[in-house]
Every structure is written in C-alpha cells, then in structure tokens.
C-alpha cells in the first residue's frame, strides 16, 4: 500500500509496536500484498478464522512448498545451512497437510489432550516455586532469564525423559533453536548447531525407547515409528519440535503477560485481590492482548480470492494473530487490557486442524506464574521503561525483562 510510508515489518518501529502498523493494515487493506517480502498479510479476525479452517486452500508444508528464499535475507554463505533447516523443519508433523497430518497428529494427540496436560499442573507449581525461591531474597530478577526461559525447559525435559544432569545442555540447545524466529542475517549457524545437537542428543534416547517404551514423549514418537507413521528422522525432528514450539511461545506469554500487568496497575490490583480465582481469565487476556506468536505462514495451494484480491498458487500468506486479537469487529475496546474479559475468542493458538496442541500446557504455565507472582511479589516494577524486542515477524519476544519488588 503506497500510503504506508515504509512497508516493512522489520523496521525498529514495527518490531517495537506491531499494533499500530498491523492495525492500520486491518483498517485500510486487510488482505495486503507486501512487495518487499513478497507475501500476503492477513489481519482481520474473521479472515484469519476462515483461512485457518480452510486448510485445503492453504498448505502448512511451508518449508517444502515455499519456492522463495528465506526472509529476511540470510548470509549467502549460509544457503547450504538453510537447505538443512528446510529439510529439518519440513519433516515436523505440523509442516504437513491432510491426510499425513492427521495420521501423525493421531500418534501424538493422546499425550496432549487437555486432560493429560492438566496433570502437569503440580509439576509446574513446584517448578515455579523453586524458580521464585531462588530470586526472592535478591528482590529482583530478569523475568526472561530467571523464570520464563527455564520453566518451559524444565517441563519439556521432563516430558522427554531427559536425565537431570543433561538439562543444562538441553537448555543450551533450546536457546540455539530460538534463532528460527529471528531476523539476523547470520542466524542459520546457531540454529543449525542447535538442530544438529538435538539430533545427536536424542538419537540414543530413541534407540533405547524403541526397545523399552516408557511414558514419555519420545516413547510416543518411537511408537509412531513402530506403526510406520514416522520415519526415524521425523521422530528426531518432532522431538525438537516440542522444544521449539513449547519454549519461545511460553517465554513470550510469561514475559508479555508480566509486562502487561506492570503497565496496567489497576488490572494487577484486580488479580492480587483473588490470584487463584482470577488467573484463568487473566491468562486468556494476556494471550489476546500481547500474543506470544505474532503471525504464522501458509502457502496458497491454489488460486484463492479474499476480499477482492487474488492470492496465487504458491504465494506466501501470513496471518497476523496480534492484529486479529485487536480487531474491533470482534472485541469491545480491543486495545484495553481487561483481565475479566469474557468471552475472549482470541486466536493466540490459531484455529482449525492445526490449533496448538500444547495450548492447555501454556495456559497452566501462565496461570501458575501469574498467580504466584501476584501472591509472592505484589509490588513488582520495571527496572527501566525502555524495553527491546527481538527482530522477528513470528514471535513477540522481549530481549529481557528486568524487574524488582523491593
């Protein structure tokens, strides 16, 4: 659109405040062609819901089917590494369409039902308590470093059945995998290091679980290999999918949510009145107001018309959760952070057949963290107002979130 002064989603302004830019697109050109990155930008709530529910029109096999190069651009010397990433990511079950997607999802879904994920709550409570105990006397922490980053890794390591002494190593790998959503030109190196490290680490665990299945997630995937649904490479990359999909997203929920509370003292006061009772709806509002994932990509499987525009086969299509969650046609006072909001049909977890498998776990982690913070550190404040975000189009990720309560 010519009247958007700079049609670039990676400028520091748009990274710092995506809501103004995507909000304007939502009003003026809701199905927008971005020339610079050659992709469609879809920003309205109803369009997003329609698109995610028409999986036959929009392929999730993005890494296999995207004919265009990586964006933002990567170092030319790293093109070989990008092929490695495409092959690695492309084998994850979420990067498949029906019917394969359904067969793969059936293997893992039992592990992720709301009921089975709810059973992780006591583990999450204990982990939150330990992490907060460790910082209590200091009177300050970096929410990112001390709470939001380690918590999901503790949970995922337990799900994978990783022995205690190996957990710091898994955390190192997890931090390298985070480069998947970043914009730096040299991001392929640390990312592929993390991917190769994961394959190397997980391979012997899979060998072992094929023979001696246990109750952990790797055993579930190994069982899929025995049934002929997964290849060995798919078992390996889907193990790291757990770390990829469950880590950054949860970090962002915990950090962005904590920040929203600090910036809205009235809502923080409301949660403090009843932390146990209020945490559930409050977590939903955190997911809506400053969603952990900003956008997700598909590839058009055929020519599709949306709002008078023709999306051509093989075009990139990105749907923006952060904009749909602020759509005034869906939410009253969409830019207001209101922890009692109900109903709250945000699309933070997507919709349709690819709706987030781990949603219940993310909710449990959010609820337990916000509740514990409200109970234990009611006086939290920012160390300084200036905060920086990672240059990512996919994730709404703070770089750090230093706070204090004494």
């Amino acid at each position: 659109m010519s009247n958007l002064r700079q049609d670039d989603m990676f400028t520091p302004e748009v990274i710092a405040d995506p809501y103004t830019y995507y909000g304007r697109l939502r009003e003026e050109d809701p199905v927008h062609w971005n020339e610079k990155y050659e992709l469609w930008v879809v920003t309205r709530h109803d369009d997003l819901v329609w698109l995610t529910r028409h999986h036959e029109l929009f392929s999730s096999a993005v890494f296999k089917n995207d004919p265009r190069p990586a964006y933002p651009a990567i170092d030319e010397s790293d093109l070989g590494l990008y092929d490695y990433v495409r092959n690695y990511q492309g084998d994850q079950f979420i990067q498949h369409d029906r019917p394969d997607h359904l067969e793969m999802r059936k293997v893992v879904h039992g592990y992720f039902t709301p009921k089975s994920l709810e059973e992780w709550r006591p583990f999450v409570q204990k982990a939150v308590k330990q992490l907060l105990d460790a910082v209590e006397d200091k009177g300050r922490m970096d929410v990112m470093r001390d709470l939001a980053t380690p918590l999901p890794v503790l949970v995922i390591a337990e799900m994978m059945g990783v022995p205690e002494p190996d957990r710091p190593y898994i955390r190192q790998l997890a931090e390298k995998l985070l480069y998947i959503g970043r914009g730096e030109a040299d991001r392929m190196k640390p990312l592929t290091d993390g991917m190769k490290g994961m394959i190397e680490y997980v391979s012997p665990l899979v060998d072992e679980r094929i023979v001696n299945p246990a109750g952990d997630f790797i055993s579930v995937l190994a069982n899929g290999e025995r049934q002929g649904v997964f290849t060995r490479h798919q078992v390996l990359v889907n193990t790291s999918l757990l770390l990829l999909a469950g880590h950054e997203t949860t970090i962002n929920l915990l950090c962005n949510g904590t920040l929203a509370f600090i910036r809205h003292p009235d809502q923080w006061a409301k949660l403090k009145e009843d932390p146990a009772g209020g945490a559930r709806l409050a977590t939903e509002e955190c997911l809506r107001y400053d969603a952990p994932v900003k956008s997700i990509q598909r590839i058009a499987s055929q020519d599709v018309e949306m709002r008078g525009k023709v999306l051509r086969k093989e075009d990139r299509v990105r749907w923006f959760i952060s904009s749909a969650n602020r759509d005034p046609n869906k939410f009253e006072n969409p830019d207001t952070f209101d922890i009692a909001r109900w109903p709250n049909q945000h699309v933070a977890f997507g919709a349709g057949i690819h709706h987030c498998l781990g949603a219940t776990l993310a909710r449990v982690e959010g609820q337990e963290v916000f509740k514990a913070l409200a109970e234990r550190f009611p006086g939290i404040r920012l160390d300084n107002e200036a905060l920086e975000y990672q240059p990512s189009i996919t994730f709404r990720s703070l770089k750090s979130l230093p706070i204090h309560w004494q």
Partner: protein, 74 residues
Amino acid sequence: MGRKLRIRIDHNTCVGNAMCETFAPNAFRLNDNRQSEVVDPSGDSEEKILEAAVNCPVSAITVEDAETGEQLFP
C-alpha cells in the same frame, strides 16, 4: 444399543479443529462455518463419542446421559 446421550458443543469455545469428526464421524460434523455440530447423538458408540469429547483440544464438548442427566464428560 447403548444408552441415549445428550451432547452439547460450546460454540464460544469451538475452534473447528475437527478432532471430534475424526473420532466419531457419524455423530459430529463441521457446519459451513466449520463449527462442530451434533448430527446424530447415537450415530457412533458411546466410547467413540467420549473419545471425541476427551480429545477436543479446547474441551468444547459435554456429554450427558440423556435419561438420568448424569454428566459423562468432562
């Protein structure tokens, strides 16, 4: 013939994931708006219907015994 079931779907919660249709295709179908609808509460076995309810990723499905009102899920 098993007992009669009453199945409810919360359309504020349903995200059109279609897991219900996968587990109990004769009981559930997505409508034009891709929201789950109960087309026949006795179209599949109680076991399949409960499996569909348990596996709904957003827990939008409630199942009751139609005669006694006993809640079977959640």
